[in-house]
Structures are given as C-alpha cells and as structure tokens.
C-alpha cells in the first residue's frame, strides 16, 4: 500500500468508528483526539480494525505512533507496504 492508500484506509476505519464526524477537514498533523470525539475504547477500535482488515499487529508500546494521520501513515508504511490495497 502507498501512503495515500494507507491514509484512505485509516479514514475508512475512522468513518466506521465515528460515523457522525465530518472527516473531510481533518488536519493530518494534529492529533485525532484534538479534532474529533475519540476515547480510549475508540482508539482500540482503530488498532483492532487494522488487525482485522490488514492483519497488522501493533504492540501497545507503539500506540502513541497512531496519534495523528501523519504519524500513523509514517508508522504504518513500512508495515503495510507489501499489503495490496483493499
């Protein structure tokens, strides 16, 4: 997957977790939690959905890397580059 494809994958997951949010104005540099209602259980949904949809394993100590869109893509790119886009 490319950076753009990973970004779309994350947006799809966020849309399923927070279907009432307008994600079109999400700033990729800012933490998700500063821009949308996202509690710790929602955050675990992101981890779970990445695991379910792409079989990506994210150890707990790496969770801070998923704080914003940019940091997530940067973290996930080496781990998902060999995965074909859905």
């Amino acid at each position: 997957m490319t950076s753009a494809e990973i970004q779309k994958a994350i947006l799809d997951i966020l849309a399923s977790i927070a279907p009432d949010e307008d994600l079109s104005k999400l700033d990729p540099q800012k933490p998700f939690r500063d821009q949308m209602e996202l509690d710790s259980m929602d955050f675990l949904d992101i981890v779970m959905e990445l695991r379910k949809r792409y079989r990506v394993q994210i150890p707990e100590e790496d969770y801070p890397a998923l704080a914003s869109m940019n940091s997530s893509v940067e973290y996930l790119l080496p781990r998902m580059k060999d995965i074909p886009a859905a």
Partner: protein, 414 residues
Amino acid sequence: MIAPHPDCQRIVITGVGLTAPNGNNLREFRESLLAGRSGVTRYETRYFGETVAGVCQFDELRYQSRKVLRRGTRAGSVGIYCANEAIRDAGLDWENVDKSAVGIYVGVTEHGNVETEQELYQLKQYDYDIQYWSHHHNPRTVANNPAGEISLNLGITGPHYTLGAACAAGNAGIIQGVQMLRLGECELAICGGVSESIHTFGIFASFHSQGALARHEDPAKASRPFDADRNGIVVAEGGCLFILERLSDARSRGAKIYGEIVGYAMNSDAYDYVLPHPERQAECIETALRRAKLSPKDIDIVSTHATGTTSGDVQECLALRRVFGDNGHTLFNNTKSFIGHAMGAAGALELAGNLPSFEDRVCHATINLDRPDPECSLNGLVANQPRELPKVDTILNNSFGMLGINSVVIVRRL
C-alpha cells in the same frame, strides 16, 4: 378498597415509553391491539434459518448518535428509546429534574447472549484467534448494560441496574420501582423491561429443541395461546418502561396519571426448571390481591401470561380458575397472541397495552383463538374481538418465568 398508604407512599404511573412489534408508542400499540393487528412476521436468523418472530421497527437514531449506537447493545438501544419516550410522555421538565434522584430498574430475561454469539461468530472468521475478540465485549455484556446505557444517555446519576427474572422480568422491574420509591431511594423511577432476544439464534434453537417454538404458515397466526392448535412460543423483542412517581409528587406537578399500582407479589415455584406450578401461581395472585385489599371479583381485566405452549397455558388456566372461579365479572385477555413473547419486556408491555382500557373502556382480545382448548377454558376469556365495558377500574397483570418465578402487578384507575 382504598390502599392504606398515605399519598407519599402511593405509587402511580405517569409515563409510558414502549416499542412493540406492532407499535412504537402506546397509542400505536393500543390501536393495533384493538384492531386485531399482529406484529409477528417471517424472520431468519443465523444457523437456525427461517422462523417467525416479533420484530420491532423503532427509530434507533431518535435518541442516539450512530457512534453510540455502534458502541452499545440492542437491549441498550431499546431501553434508551423507551426511557426517552416515557420521560416525554410523562411531561416532565427533564432539564430541571434532579438526575441523582432518578432510579433505573430494568427487567431482563437474560443479557449478553446476543453479543457473545456475535463475537464467537466473528472469531470463527479468524480461526478462533482470541486477539480478534472485541474490547467492547465486557461493557456490552455486563448484566447492568441495558440500564447503564439509559443512565449514560440521559445523564442519570441515581441507581441503575437490571433485574434478571426470566419472563417475569417486566413486572419485576415495575415492582422494584415501586419499592424503591416507597423506601425513598429515588424520587422518580424509570422501570419495566426490555428484550433483544430475537437477535440470538440460541433462544430459537433452544425452544425448538424443547419442542416449544411456534410454527405456522401465516406468521400472524403463529402465536395462539389457549387455542387447541397452539404449538409453542413466538419469540419477540421489545421494551416498555414506565415513569413511576409518588401520588403526592404527581399531583403537585399536575401530571397525567395512568393508574395506581395498588398491589404486587412475587414468589417461586421451587418445583421445576421449565414447568410452571399452578398452585404457586395462584398463591402469587392471591398475595397481590390481599395486599391490594381486593377480592377476585373486583378485578375487571386479567392480562394473562400464557405463551402458547401446550402445558404452560393449561397450568395458568388452572391457577386462574382456582382464584377467579366463575365470578361472572372478570375478563381475561392475552397480548402475546398479537406480538409473541417479548421475554423481559413481556410483563411491562402487556400491562401497558391494557392501561388505556381505563379510558376507552375496552378489553382487547386474545386473537387466533379459532378452536378453544377445553383445558384452557376460562369464563370471561375475550376471544378474537375486543369487548366494550361500562367501566374498567382494575387490571391484574400476570408474568411468569423459567425456574419457577412468578409475578403479579395490580393497577387501579384513579
């Protein structure tokens, strides 16, 4: 005839919120009951396949965001809808109600089976690797979930819990509300019962294995208590929550009062896992009558529990004949014949469906009674067509459940 309590100990119903397979508020529900309109439809569920069920069609998004809906449970959603509708119906100035003085008491037949079955089904897709088991499983399956979701939705900080009482749960929730108001544990009770049971395959499969699941070519005719051709239970979902208040509080705010809960009782058969015991049922009814200081002939309408099983209906009729005999006055009806068995919600829904009779003076019928079973004979059974009455002052509501749990609630018009 007059209850011995001062007004601050007399408990009245001032609001009703419900979803039933044939109505999403009391007006729609009552219209369906008087029109003979069934809410039972064809239904297909995982593993079990085609069957019939009572399915609710309420607007889940009226009181919940899509995000919260996804987070919670079907039982929670049913509860949230009913609680909000009840508060609205009661005409409460909700913004200014002390939320710490509100108690939530929700009867459930069971809770958690829907979520556990769903998780196991999904886990199978991942070859039972438990790292795919949801972190939402525990908050969804704790037994207080349906009541807790109401508390979260409405910002209620008073006590909330569920009462596990099999199919007597709707009455059990109401009784708990009465008791907590009398004890001063709350100023306002939101109570009754909910059920999401049609979303588990297990309940259908288990009744089927027991030889107690209804089947009929025409779904609307599948639920037929007291009929000779009955062949079991139609599983239904639903919910009904009441607003209960002390009579003194209801009067001081000029609330519409549906009726007063003048008597109740719960007891146990101590007899069998599934078979009912007419003597204990009769004792439960008699205890409720004694507490209400009423005699059997003072009861205008008995809302029967009968579920359409071969044995259960006969047993309840034995109990009813023992208590009410042939008094020439009391009428009997059955709401499950319209909606199926809404499990934890059944007792509350069946009481609610009868409450408007205080005003419209009509006893709704038991439908699908084409060939009355002689073993279920009840003088005063209102068959197929509603019956108009000069007046209705008292309703006695039966609700019984597995493991021999019996409950009776008596409501009187004020």
